[in-house]
Each structure stands twice: as C-alpha cells, then as structure tokens.
Amino acid sequence: MSTMSLEPVRGRTDEMIVNMGPQHPATHGVLRVVLGLEGERITRAVPHIGYLHRNHEKIEEARSYPQVIAYTDRMDYVSGTQNELPFVLAVEDMLGIEVPDRAKKIRTMFFELYRLASHLVWMGTAMLDLGAISPFLYTFWDREIILGIVEKTAGARMLPNYYTFGGVRRDVHPDFFKDTADFLDHMERRMVDYEHLVLESPVVHARTIGVGVLSKERAIARGVSGPVLRASGVAYDVRKAFPYDAYPDVEFEIPTSPDGDTYARFWVRFQEMYQSIRILRQLVELTPKTGPHKGKAPARIKPPAGERYRAVENSRGELGVLVVSDGTDKPYRVKHRGAAFSNLQIVPDLFVGAKFSDSIAILSSLDPVFGEIDR
C-alpha cells in the first residue's frame, strides 16, 4: 500500500477502479478511498486523507497555552470537550496545578455526556449508511438534549471551550444536575428503542455479523484503540489503565467482545453507552452541588521547560497529546495522537476481500471523524 494512486493493472479488464469520496455520502466527511472493484468484491483499497487539513498543530505552536484550548475543540467536532482534556491535563501536570474534586467530577460529567452524544451520532450515521433513515433522526433529537444541557452551562453546543487549567471555566447552571438526571431517564427509555432498531434487527445482523473481522493481533499491531480495539477482545481503556479526573471514584466496566467483526464494534459502542449512563448516574449523586469549580492557576501560564504526554479515552479511543514546553508562554510543540486517525489505518486491511456494501458498514463501524483525522 505504498502507492498513493491506484493504477489499472495492464491486461486486467475485470477490475474497475472507482473513487469513493471525498464527496460520498457514506465516507463521514471527506475520506477518499480508491477502490479496485471486481464486480462487487474489493480487490484493492487505498485511503487518502487530508482534505480537511487545517495545520492544527502548527497553529497551536503559535498560540499561548489558554488559547490552544479553543483550538483543540475543533479536532473531533462531535465530542466537544473531550478534546480539551488531554492538553489541559498535560499542562496541569507540568505546572502542578491542583484541581478541586468538584471540578474533576464536573469535567467527567461533561466528558461522558459528550461520549453519549458522539455515540448517538455514530449510531444515527451508521444506520443511515446501512439504509435506515429513522434512527438517524431519533438519535439526533436525543443529541439535541445533550447539547442543550451543555449550552446552558458552557455557552456553546459543539465547541464549548469549557475546560481550563485547574478546573472548568464557570460553574454549572443551577439546572445542570436535574437536567442531566432527566436526560438519563429519557435516554434509558430510548436505549430500549435503539436496541430494537439496531442491535436486534435481523437486517443489521445480516449486514454486520462476520463482516470486517479484525483479529486481536492485527488490532494491536495497527495501534487501534477505543471501541474498535475492545471489540477485538483487548480490554484496554485509558479510563481504567491510566485513570484521570473522577474516573477512580466511579464504578464502571469495560465491555469487550472477542469477535472483532462489525457487529462486535456496534455492540461494544452500545454497551459503552450503558456504561456512560451508569457513570453519569453515579456522578449526579456524587458531585457536590456547591463548591469550587476551579483551582488556583497562575495568571500567566508558563510551564517549566520539559515535556509531558497525557491521554484520555475519548469516544473513539486513546486521544493523547504531547506538550513540549521551552519555558515561554507558548508551547514549543503540540503533538496530538488522534484515535480516529489511528483507527483509520486498518481500512485497507478490512476492505480488501470484502464486498462493496460491506465496506460502507465497516467504515461506519470505525466511526471516523475527519476534523480529528486531518487536523
């Protein structure tokens, strides 16, 4: 797969080369995959990325530390505050900022709310890719509720710029805990519907079971993470392996599946949503209603020279950031380790040999977000 373009093979007339993307409804944005098709079977697949490249990391080197937070939001635009956390954690580590317990819990609540939002978007678009229209509308209505809760507190829906060094920017809205509890009740009712429409549907079974099998060894070798890795039977979750924020205080499980096929990835995401609801239920009870939302942070953020890597488990996997400081108020280097980017590497592996329709199902089960992949 070293060639960038796919040349027709001389003397082979049964292979058709098609461009899937960058303007294709099922590529979740701007992925372009050049496919060699032999009838319906894919013989070769070369993914191309970079259509949404914004020079993210270089811009961040030219911004001061608080300014970078606003930029990190723009990576994985469906999971909002989740992108801010690794950078905030890394800088807090370098400066030794103490984060109050309540701020940690509020952060974790937003983190899990956005995980639910992101998985809802995934579910809707995955079902849209498989051909069902209705679940897409349902999940987006539910996501609206989450975004409404976030907007009440943070002022923005998708890119809230809410976390800051030492805690969160402002205290939560007085209705926040009640809204969240109400939403969780609503969501638990809705999850039953989604099980009927997605996990139990025989059509989904036919389209996903045994399709795009990713073995445990292959998954580890390719460096995938998140639900894709856990669907291949590896119980690795940053929330358990390297706990951060309020995750040590709450009980939750890491759902894994040994199958590694598309259905397993669907199933793992579903179980993660149940775990998110469980975590949020605990946090609604645990979080003190009043108290500090922000610890003491220096007015000018100037971490001492050195470097720090912190990772969080966002909706797609391990989202890490390496911050290198040279002692000034701007980072010397910011390197993001994107989960969706790493997960996308298995596309050629899984596509080759699959049917063309399967490739759509496989791609939607990887849940790529091109804001983060192209950065």
């Binding site: 209505w141 009440k152 002022g155 923005a156 890119l159 710029n161 402002r170 809205h173 519907d193 009927h196």
Partner: protein, 189 residues
C-alpha cells in the same frame, strides 16, 4: 426446527422494530419553528459579540488590550492613544473580524470591565462577508439592539425599557450554584 426458530426470531425482531417506529407517530415533533418563533437561548449562549456603552453613552471599554491578547483566532484589532485630558486611553480603532471569529468567548473572559459581552443574536447571515468585519459602531449597535447580554464578571445584564442597564435577577443568572443556593438556604433557616 432451529431454522424455523431463526425465521420466527427474525420476523419477531422486524415486527418489534416496526412497532418501535410506529410508536413515534403518536409523539409530538420537537421541531422548533425557527424563522417564525425565535429560539429561547440560554443567557450564556455565545452567538455574537457586542461592545457595551454606559447608560450615559460614554465608553465602558478602558482599552486595556486584554481581549486582543486573549483572542486565539487573533481577530481583534485595537488602536488607542493616551487621553490628553485625564487618565487612561481613548479608542482609535476597535475591530472584530466576526467572519474569522470562532466564538470561544475568550475575550469576554478576559475583559476586566465587562465591556465586551456575548449576545444571543445569531442571525448574522449576509450576502457580503465584508459586512461582518465589525468596527466599533457595529459592535455598539449590536449592544444597543440587545435586550440582555452576558459576561462572566457582571453576569447577565438587562437593558430596561427606559434605556437603563441593570443586573438581571438571580433566577436569570446562570452558573454559580453556590451564590444562588446561599440566599435560599438563609431564607429557609
């Protein structure tokens, strides 16, 4: 028999799915009729920026350049000169490029006098992007037309019918659960 069972399971699952979908016919659509009915946005919602003047029409902004420094997208351009009579500075130029602004509200966080604020006017669609390169008059006009605005320092402020500016009542103030809960507890006890 297992084949028949499988078929029965599939038929049952399709039936359940269809029933699930049909259930929604009887639910009300949560559609917002946007152009006819304006959405009720929370007061902290960052939709646009405005520059508030004092009640007497004097400038609230002290031209400290904090917002210009805080802006991640670097869309704020301020020029100033020293006030010949008295202290402080006067504004020569205060531009915000609302096209490139990413509405992170970092400038509002940074402002020490709550001069630059967030407002709920999101209807900025235009045929000409140049009209969104806001100068100081544009920003003042935005503030004059706003009924309420938010800044972290002063909270939500309202413009009353007779043009006065006053702080909104506590039930309209977002955030700060601690502040809100304290008086209520005192009343209870």
């Amino acid at each position: 028999m297992s084949l028949l069972q499988e078929v029965w399971q599939a038929v049952k699952a399709i039936g359940t799915g269809m029933a699930t979908v049909h259930k929604r016919v009887y639910e009300d659509a949560p559609t917002e009729f946007y152009p006819y009915v304006k959405p009720d946005l929370p007061p902290v919602s960052v939709q646009s920026l405005a520059l508030v003047e004092n009640e007497d029409g004097s400038e609230r902004c002290i031209v400290c350049l904090q917002c210009e420094r805080a802006c991640p997208a670097q869309v704020i351009t301020i020029e100033r000169h020293r006030n010949p009579e008295g202290k402080g500075f006067l504004i020569d130029r205060f531009d915000i490029d609302l096209v490139n602004c990413m509405y992170c509200a970092a400038c509002v966080e940074a402002c020490p006098v709550s001069s630059i604020v967030t407002i709920q006017d999101f209807e900025m669609s235009t045929y000409d992007l140049q009209t969104l390169k806001a100068d100081i008059d544009f920003l003042h006009e935005q503030a004059r037309r706003a009924r309420q605005w938010y800044s972290p320092k002063f909270g939500v402020e309202l413009r009353t019918e007779d043009g006065r500016i006053e702080k909104a009542p506590p039930e309209m103030q977002p955030g700060g659960l601690a502040e809100l809960l304290k008086p209520a507890e005192e009343v209870d006890s």
